[in-house]
């Protein structure tokens, strides 16, 4: 029991355990909190810095079908879709693109694959999993791309392979 006061004297040593092991490099207030942002689509700036949003661009509305870059590519939408409602109540894309409307609208019919549900059952109408058109089909805008695409179609790849004599 007589040793207890001496043990208590050792208590301040615990403070040492809290001090950082590594020496302080710099003053906290001097370090920039706003780290530079990685160069992604937008270049420069810092993490917290907000850039002015680019202008809303004009949709391409020339109504000509565009070639697909690969066979599985969902065709892009060659017209404006402002105000067209696609929700639980109604799908206005189907006003023109549904099977029963294409003969009068002249619009391409929804692909036959869209009538098949996930169990491979063919349905009478567009399958619920294909209902929200713009999940895959997107309109195009007249704008400068933020990244230049280096995509080459299979034709271009093959052509190049032949040229190189491979």
């Amino acid at each position: 029991m007589r040793i207890l006061p001496f043990l208590l004297l050792l208590l301040p040593l615990t403070l040492l355990a809290e001090t950082p092991q590594t020496p302080m490099v710099e003053d906290e207030s001097q370090r920039p909190l706003d780290a530079p942002a990685p160069d992604g689509i937008r270049r420069g700036g810092t993490l917290s810095q907000e850039y002015q949003a680019p202008n809303i661009t004009d949709p391409r509305t020339e109504l000509t079908r565009r070639a697909r870059n690969f066979p599985q590519q969902p065709p892009v939408i060659p017209h404006a879709i402002r105000g067209l409602q696609v929700d639980k109540n109604v799908n206005q894309c189907l006003d023109c693109h549904s099977r029963s409307a294409t003969h009068i609208s002249g619009a391409p019919m929804v692909s036959i694959t869209h009538f098949t549900d996930r169990d491979g059952q063919d349905l009478a109408a567009v399958s619920p999993r294909r209902y929200f058109c713009v999940k895959c089909h997107v309109p195009q805008d007249n704008t400068r791309p933020v990244k230049i695409s280096t995509f080459r179609s299979i034709d271009q790849v093959l052509e190049r392979a032949i040229q190189l004599g491979e």
């Binding site: 000509t64 079908r65 105000g83 409602q85 639980k88 109540n89 206005q92 009068i104 002249g106």
Partner: protein, 221 residues
């Protein structure tokens, strides 16, 4: 019995020539009071036609108005716009008064909270929309035509299909604006069973129709 005597005494006063007031004062006073009353009535009536008045109830502000905001009738490049009353209240006086009397039911609905939650509004959306569709079908889309005059439509400025539809079905009076242009200013209700105005026999009737221009001569996928 006492009430009867009161009425009779009022009538006697009303029926007797004025003893102190001159004819000029009475006629001019009546004229000026008439202007003030009529002006006041009309001002109040016009106030109930403003967007500010319509959206003073949250039912209108939270649902139809919010849906109107992103549409071209609310905001566009030239700033010519249509607000609630331009489409929902007839401009002609007689019909306007008739519509205003009908609108007393909306006050009832407001008091009893018929559509005071998004769920209630959504549940009644089809009924409300149907009422407006029938109204516009009955008056040949009069409120559209207050601004969109068919006689001055330039078909060459329209998309081929729009021109084809307007120059045939609309021109012949077979269809009216609302038949095809539903849900242009507000979201559509559950449309099951509502025929899309786009379906028609345009090609069968008129094989020369230019409705398919721009589509037929393209390579298919």
């Amino acid at each position: 019995m006492r009430m009867w005597t009161t009425i009779k005494s009022y009538w006697r006063t009303f029926n007797r020539p004025a003893t102190h007031l001159s004819l000029g004062l009475l006629s001019m006073g009546g004229f000026i009071a008439g202007i003030i009353f009529w002006g006041g009535f009309n001002t109040a009536l016009e106030y109930t036609n403003t967007e500010q008045f319509c959206i003073s109830c949250h039912e209108m502000e939270a649902n139809p108005f919010r849906e109107l905001v992103p549409t071209i009738h609310y905001s566009n490049r030239s700033g010519v716009r249509a607000t609630c009353s331009d489409c929902h209240v007839p401009h002609d006086w007689t019909f306007k008064i008739a519509r205003k009397m009908e609108a007393s039911k909306e006050v009832w609905g407001w008091i009893f909270g018929t559509i005071n939650t998004p769920e209630k509004f959504e549940a009644k959306r089809r009924e409300l929309a149907q009422r407006e569709w029938s109204r516009l079908e009955a008056n040949d889309s009069l409120e559209c035509r207050n601004c969109h005059d068919f006689d001055y439509m330039d078909f060459t400025q329209q998309a081929p299909r729009a021109a084809a539809m307007h120059s045939t079905l609309l021109a012949s009076g077979e269809k009216t604006c609302i038949d095809c242009h539903k849900g242009i200013a507000h979201n559509l209700p559950d449309m099951s069973g509502v025929p899309s105005g786009f379906h028609g026999d345009l090609l069968e009737r008129d094989p020369q129709s230019r409705v398919m221009d721009g589509f037929l001569n393209q390579s298919s996928y």
